[in-house]
């Protein structure tokens, strides 16, 4: 009997198909937040040069530029994500996550796209596009269902790109009552902020986390080299003593370090983080590239679970200290703001939570600065003073 090559081909294809659909365990998961809100009362930012005053706004999502003003908006905190992952067996899996945020008109972005391979029981390697794991909540910033706030505190110093493409080695193990997790990563990233393009080269960092059944401790370090692109005016503004900076020849060094603690006592939890960042200035080591000694931020938050309700309170503080060494400055001065947030999370459904949240931010900036070279706008009115209220629903599926 002569074999029909076509039939054989179909048979083989069929076998391969059925084999792959058996082995490939494909999962589709997603999340969505629909949040509306507005600022209630505002301070004003005053332009020192022109005297013009503009109302203060509240930036809810720095990476996407989601900003609340006094008109009710559903954009700044509203987002979605769909994740497809497939376990190919023998420790190999692939994951892709598409997200979109109101601040970017819901345009779809690839936030994660990576291959994961379990080298053994304690070591895992991930290669591809991943979130930059700076804070406790960085990894799952978009998944508001996974935390108690409507949005994470906006007081910690942000990086210029929240993703990177590269490789991460993660290790996890446990001893008696403690679980240990550590990772190191490297790669490069990019971001756009309005008309400014930012490349983060030579991203390098690590995270260590130790936890037991009530305590989590976490420390994180990250650094990269910033290269700025844009119009000639923009690139010219990154110039000191006639030498262009933030170029691929003279990149600016960015450094970040942070520590965090999370404690659970029955129905009460307390979480706190402290972080600092600085942009190195190769031409004037006494102050960094934006004229500050760096940015610090910290918050402490607590909540109590009462059935399906979780009322919570958070205090946060952010400060950029302008360096005394700056031309025109006679003493230390801070560009600073503190925020108190009160909110309640209501788990009204097994996969959805309703959140009401009120934040009041005060301007703690020093009001003294003789700032004749156009650096940070300290003392320019109450530019940080703003109250906002939001209502929203977070869903996972």
């Amino acid at each position: 009997m002569q074999r029909n090559p076509l039939t054989a081909g179909i048979l083989v294809a069929g076998l391969v198909l059925s084999a792959s659909s058996q082995a490939a365990d494909v999962r589709i998961n997603g999340f969505m937040s629909v949040v509306g809100g507005a600022t209630l009362s505002e301070g004003t930012a005053r332009n020192r040069a022109t005297g013009a005053e503009t109302p203060a706004t509240f930036e809810a999502d720095a990476p996407t530029g989601g900003v609340y003003d006094d008109d009710i908006s559903f954009k700044p905190d509203t987002n979605y994500g769909v994740q497809i992952s497939s376990n190919l067996g023998d420790g190999l899996s692939v994951t892709g996550q598409i997200t979109g945020a109101g601040g970017e008109d819901f345009d779809a972005n690839v936030s994660w796209a990576y291959v994961n391979y379990d080298l053994n029981d304690t070591w895992t390697v991930q290669a591809g596009r991943q979130r930059l794991p700076l804070f406790f909540y960085s990894d799952f910033l978009d998944v508001a269902y996974a935390y108690h706030w409507a949005r994470t505190p906006q007081v910690l110093p942000a990086a210029f790109s929240d993703t990177f493409e590269g490789i991460k080695f993660a290790w996890s193990d446990s001893t008696d009552n403690w679980d240990w997790r550590a990772s190191i990563y490297g790669g490069s990233g990019s971001a756009e902020s309005g008309v400014v393009g930012i490349k983060t080269n030579n991203v390098l960092g690590g995270v260590i986390k130790v936890s037991n059944d009530w305590l989590q401790l976490r420390a994180s370090y990250s650094q990269n080299e910033l290269v700025i692109s844009g119009s000639p005016e923009i690139t010219a503004s990154f110039r000191r003593n006639g030498v262009p900076q933030a170029t691929s020849e003279n990149p600016l060094g960015f450094q970040f370090a942070g520590v965090g603690v999370h404690m659970t006592f029955d129905d009460v939890f307390v979480v706190s983080e402290y972080a600092l960042s600085a942009i190195e200035n190769p031409f004037a080591p006494d102050f960094d590239a934006v004229g500050t000694d760096g940015t610090i931020g910290w918050y402490i938050s607590s909540g109590i679970r009462i059935g399906n309700l979780t009322p919570h309170i958070t205090y946060g503080y952010n400060e950029q200290t302008l360096s005394r060494e700056m031309p025109g400055l006679t003493n230390d001065a801070a560009n600073a703001a503190s925020t108190i947030t009160l909110g309640v999370r209501w788990d009204f459904h097994p996969s959805a939570a309703f959140k009401a949240e009120y934040s009041s931010r005060d301007d703690d900036s020093d009001d003294i600065v003789q700032n004749d070279i156009g650096f940070a706008s300290v003392g320019n009115g109450d530019q940080h003073k703003v109250d906002i209220f939001t209502l929203g629903i977070d869903i996972i599926f």
């Binding site: 999962r27 998961n29 999340f31 994500g81 994740q83 992952s85 376990n87 994951t95 996550q97 994660w112 990576y114 994961n116 379990d118 029981d121 991930q126 991943q130 979130r131 990894d139 799952f140 978009d142 998944v143 269902y145 996974a146 935390y147 993660a170 996890s172 446990s174 009552n177 679980d179 059944d213 679970r305 399906n308 788990d347 097994p350 996969s351 939570a353 996972i396």
Partner: protein, 144 residues
Amino acid sequence: MTNKTLKTLLAASLTSATLMGSVAAWSGVAVIVHPSNTNSFSATDISRIFLGKKKSYPDGSEAIPVDQKDGAAVRSSFVSTVLKKNDQQIKAYWAQLLFTGKGTPPKEVGASADVRQLIAENPALIGYIDSADADGTVKVVHQF
């Protein structure tokens, strides 16, 4: 009394009767493995496997946890006693891991009888069932 109120009352009494019935019949939770699994387990070992922190048994062989259906009374009891989390906390916990590539929640496989049947057939699996459903086809390694 309107017909609607009567129906509501009837439904309410039926619901409470069902709830009481299930509480009365529920004798406790047994954590079970395949009879050929000779590992000994502490509550911490079980918790680590079900939270995705351990992927193997103490003897080094692969460990695959299976969950009961969301909302099952046995599952809530297991999650609060062994994993020390409430239903909402465990959902948030897995959301954190799932969307950051650090892990996937255990497969859901229905009720106690389904879990028992699967575990009887697969030495890698570990699950929990209503103690009353435990029989010779599986091995009970922890009970509460």
